[in-house]
Symmetry: C2
Subunit: 397 residues, 2 copies
């Protein structure tokens, strides 16, 4: 009966480390005394665990002077230059790879298109040498890569590390991307669908750093979402939590690929807007026509914004977030209308929360997905530092 004791203690230890790491991240510099107060751990536990985290290279001490009496105090912060993370964004037509430090600062990046390439194996053949270059570079700097994060069109099955049935993404159904990459590079690999990865980018590196409840919406060829509740990305029963593009906006509207009719995505995505406009086939052309004050284009934009406001009101009432973050390829075109959107949505939600809700733009532009892929690995490091940093646990993920 003694055999399970070490596992149990290991779990408590790792959970306590995780609590400490999250506090250090949230406060960007914190003393041990403050950690004792915030975590309710004993000072002995905080001393021991922070010492071990320092030995692991994850955090370090720094001196700060109290302005009042000029006395030095020792605080703890992340050691951002000991480890690196690789974030991989694979979309339907392109890829982006970024090599970052633990704080998500980009050290190296490369992107390209995959138009005409449909087999996952061929896409991996294309990017594998680029990933290898990054691993080699990191290692030459003495900063090992601790994991690969992958952002990819969903839905995906997190348990098996496979894609499920991503629409318009031929060849990827059931492709075992996680195990393929793990075998190829001998590194831990984590995948997430692109909208949720984007939400994680905000959670850890962007606007959600101190926010417990947020909603990220990505608008582009489709419309996706990621919901952070109590600080964690919500998965749902089938990995479909936050399929915000598939709320019904138009009663008896167009049939959507998901099976529903009148989904927001059928009118609010880039193809949806172009279908409504029915004059040209590029979103640049559409907004050019709007700026030329073409009456039909202006009306289409009005309808699009009205749909967006309806959708945001619905989503506020369902998810009750502190902050709604808008991103994706379509977002830059909509940015100039944000003041109106904000004020219209605030007119439509409960009056006692009007001044609390924030609606903001995504922090990382076209690199949001890749940054989210990095955040996926970083989150894992904060949750399970011992598993991520000690080799004897390399295989139990």
């Amino acid at each position: 009966m003694t055999i399970e004791k070490p596992i149990y203690l290991q779990k408590i230890k790792q959970d306590n480390m995780s609590v400490i790491l999250q506090q250090i991240w949230e406060h960007e510099g914190i003393s041990r005394v403050e950690l004792v107060t915030l975590t309710k751990l004993t000072s002995g536990t905080v001393t021991n665990l922070t010492q071990e985290l320092i030995q692991l290279g994850l955090i370090r001490e720094f001196a700060t002077s109290s302005s009042a009496i000029g006395r030095k105090r020792v605080k703890l912060k992340y050691n951002t230059d000991q480890f690196m993370i690789i974030g991989i964004d694979i979309s339907r037509t392109s890829y982006e790879l970024i090599l970052t430090d633990l704080a998500g600062q980009v050290i190296n990046s490369v992107e390209g298109n995959t138009i005409g390439i449909h087999q996952p194996e061929k896409i991996l053949d294309l990017i594998a040498p680029l990933i290898q270059n990054m691993i080699t570079y990191a290692s030459s700097k003495g900063m090992p890569v601790i994991g690969l994060g992958v952002s990819i069109p969903g839905p995906i099955d997190r348990k098996s590390g496979q894609l499920l049935t991503p629409p318009n993404f031929p060849g990827w159904e059931n492709f075992p991307i996680t195990s393929t990459l793990e075998k190829r590079f001998g590194l831990r690999v984590f995948i997430e669908d692109d909208a949720r990865a984007s939400a994680l980018a905000e959670r850890w590196y962007g606007l959600g750093r101190n926010v417990q409840n947020s909603l990220f919406i990505t608008m582009g060829m489709g419309i996706g979402g990621g919901v952070i509740s109590r600080g964690e990305l919500v998965e749902g029963a089938n990995g479909l939590y936050g399929q915000v593009g598939h709320i019904t906006l138009i009663p008896n509207g167009l049939l959507c690929a998901c099976g529903n009719r009148g989904c927001w995505e059928t009118v609010g995505s880039i193809p949806g807007i172009l279908r409504r406009w029915s004059v040209g086939d590029s979103i640049d052309d559409f907004f050019h026509a709007v700026h030329q004050e073409d009456p039909h284009a202006v009306q289409c934009l009005k309808d699009t914004l009205s749909d967006l406001e309806s959708a945001l009101t619905t989503l506020f009432n369902t998810y009750d977030p502190e902050i709604i973050v808008l991103g994706g390829r379509l977002y830059p075109y909509l940015a100039m209308y944000m003041d109106d959107i904000r004020s219209h949505v605030k007119d439509r939600i409960y009056s006692f929360v009007r001044d609390r809700l924030r609606i903001e733009n995504a922090t990382f532009g076209s690199s949001q997905n890749a940054k989210g892929a990095v955040a996926l690995v970083f989150e894992r490091l904060l949750t399970a530092p011992l598993q991520m940093l000690t080799t004897d646990n390399a295989k139990e993920k």
Copy 2:
């Protein structure tokens, strides 16, 4: 620095007890060996904590014979006849009180109407003697009441234990119901809005006992919701999580009390249906007309069901539940259409989850809210057994 040690250990101990209590509840009878496997606690910890829980009167041993070899095995289950819970449902026009055992079995109940009484103080004067009777009865049976749960129209502020701005519920704004009841009866009091309390009734006593992700929808004078995610009721940033009645269903529809236009509640609640019908003023009359095959009433019902299907599809795509439970005063009238509703919703969700989603009716009929109020106390008991059962912690909730 030693002062916080007991608190820390007490917290670990209570958390471990809670894990054990939840497993015993979920399995309705489980051995210590099975607990060790499921909780990853050491057998020593399981032995000590279960012993203490037995001493507290919360659980007890029972013998079961293994069918294969006829040997007796000792399992653990809840001691349902040691403590009682009182659930209080206060609605806009009525109240219901139930006295139950820990398993939610009703031992005593009383209900009445409050039509014409608007001051919270007067309503409490009306029900206080009834509550006192229940407390006296429980005490005469040697089964002390461990807490009062209250289900009430929301939104509410859980931290202060007050109501916020409940629509159509004059006099209750900012009323400190929790502290008023606590002072009056010297018992722990927990409040929750009615839709969420109903969700908890399913979570602990109904269909959600082994379900981690579920959505409860109550349809009556309004439409409300409660979302259980990873086994827990989700609150959101402002206590508004799961305001499912306020998803936009009708573009540019009627102005709703919440501030939005075209909310599901404006067409799908009892007043919404009657407004659409515009012939009579009772829901009985409406369904009578439907059963007489009055063409206008039949069309109104068709529209109502179509709205309901749209709403359920939207809510499936946002919350990804394993199960959607429908309840409330309107539900009995809709029950006969459930097969059609189920099949239409399943036609509109992602094909790979069609066979997984369950749509069911609420378990406790008109007592759903009161049962939810009981569940609120029971959940607290499972989460913080030491706080709930030991008097020295009586004041730190």
